[in-house]
Amino acid sequence: MISFDWEWAFVLEILPMILSAAKVTLLATLLGSILAILVGLSFALLRRSKLVLLRVVTYWVVEFVRSTPLLVQIFFLYYVLPEFGISMSPLLTGVLALGLHYGAYLSEVFRSGIDGIEKGQWEAARALNLTTYDTYKDIVLPQAIRPMIPATGNYIIAMFKETPQLSAITLLEMLQVAKIIGSENFRYLEPFTLVGILYLVFSLVAAYGIHCIERRFPKEGFTLR
């Protein structure tokens, strides 16, 4: 057994490297969540389409994406897209995978949020002769957004915690950097523990942030501009 102790000097030495890799992790999470929200919203609206075929296909696509591992989806995009002449950087591939995977989860959140709007609201919108677009923009979404925030936030935090999987396609995010530092110095304790603590801290801060965002939205709805 190798004699073992926690070295603060080593921690201070590696901290800047890991923090600069944290920027990559945060960027991937940010872009991934924007894409996931767009994908989720499209899937949710497709699930409400008038065409039965479209609804059924969307249901199975969402089910398929949700029940297969993110890691395999990342590999799939990384290896298969170039076959079709689309080559992307590891970061973009990762963002695409995160966006699709969590978009499928978010579509369920959005769907139940939209379903939660009272029937009377839809009827009133119809009675007032609003177009479908105006009904969603002015009536449905302003009321549906607030109740969706906690669940959406939880999925975004979950996405953040899955970004280490992007290391598998050579993206230099926090865990990958920690692993490289670990293998160069043959000391894994400090880098991995540090990354773990950083994830814990970021998740807690994000959870608090989402709570604040939720409180900022008025309960009775607001106008979308």
Binding site: L71, E83, P164, Y188, G196, L200
Partner: protein
């Protein structure tokens, strides 16, 4: 490489994946019940230990936990093979999420049931195992089904510590041959089938457990 050969290599990988699931799933269930109940009913110091376990495993990422167990524990003199590390990390991780399912389901049992069991002078263990648990169990099944699927998905992470599971074999086949589209399509379908079978079994369990509970529903 002929398609049949690819499929047979991938099926061997599926077997490894299923083996990990078979070990990690019971571990996760034991952790979920133990720490879920300890968190609710244990005296303070033990309660804090369970909260620490739950928050740590839910707050950090599964892959970090796996790397920590696989790369860091050997330095403490605990030598651990890849398979054990994988089962431990995934079981402990999903188990931590399961504690919340147990807690939520226990709290969803109507308060009157608890009050009635006190009024009828049941002992506290009778109250837990004969009154509250049988009713809570039915509510736990659907979220446990979802977690079981999450567990299957999480097993793909062990490919990153060189266990030759389905994902690992897919990746090495993809590096070797150029038939990446077929390989990954087959792998995705295999995972999807495993998940659907699990989802279907959990629906069956739920139906069985809710017999005699006088629940309404459509089937």
């Amino acid at each position: 490489m002929p398609f049949g050969e690819i499929v047979s290599i991938l099926l061997e990988g599926t077997w490894v994946t299923l083996k990990i699931v078979a070990f990690a799933l019971p571990l996760a269930a034991i952790m979920a019940f133990t720490f879920g109940l300890l968190r609710m009913y244990a005296p303070k110091p033990i309660k804090y230990v369970s909260v620490a376990y739950i928050e740590f495993f839910r707050g950090t990422s599964a892959l970090i936990q796996l790397y920590w167990i696989y790369f860091v524990l050997p330095f403490f003199g605990v030598s651990i093979d890849a398979m054990t590390a994988g089962v431990l990390a995934i079981g402990l991780n999903i188990g931590a999420y399961g504690t919340e399912v147990v807690r939520g389901a226990m709290q969803s049992v109507p308060k009157g049931q608890y009050e009635a069991s006190v009024a009828l002078n049941f002992t506290s263990s009778q109250r837990l195992w004969r009154i509250l648990m049988p009713q809570a169990l039915v509510n736990m099944i659907p979220p446990f089904g979802n977690l079981a699927i999450e567990l299957v998905k999480a097993t793909s992470l062990v490919s990153l510590i060189t266990i030759a599971d389905l994902t690992y074999r897919a990746k090495s086949l993809a590096d070797m041959t150029l038939q990446v589209t077929e390989i990954f399509a087959v792998v995705l379908v295999l995972y999807f089938v495993i998940a659907q079978v699990l989802a279907f079994s959990f629906k069956g369990i739920e139906k069985r457990l809710s017999r005699g509970l006088g629940r309404g529903g459509l089937d």
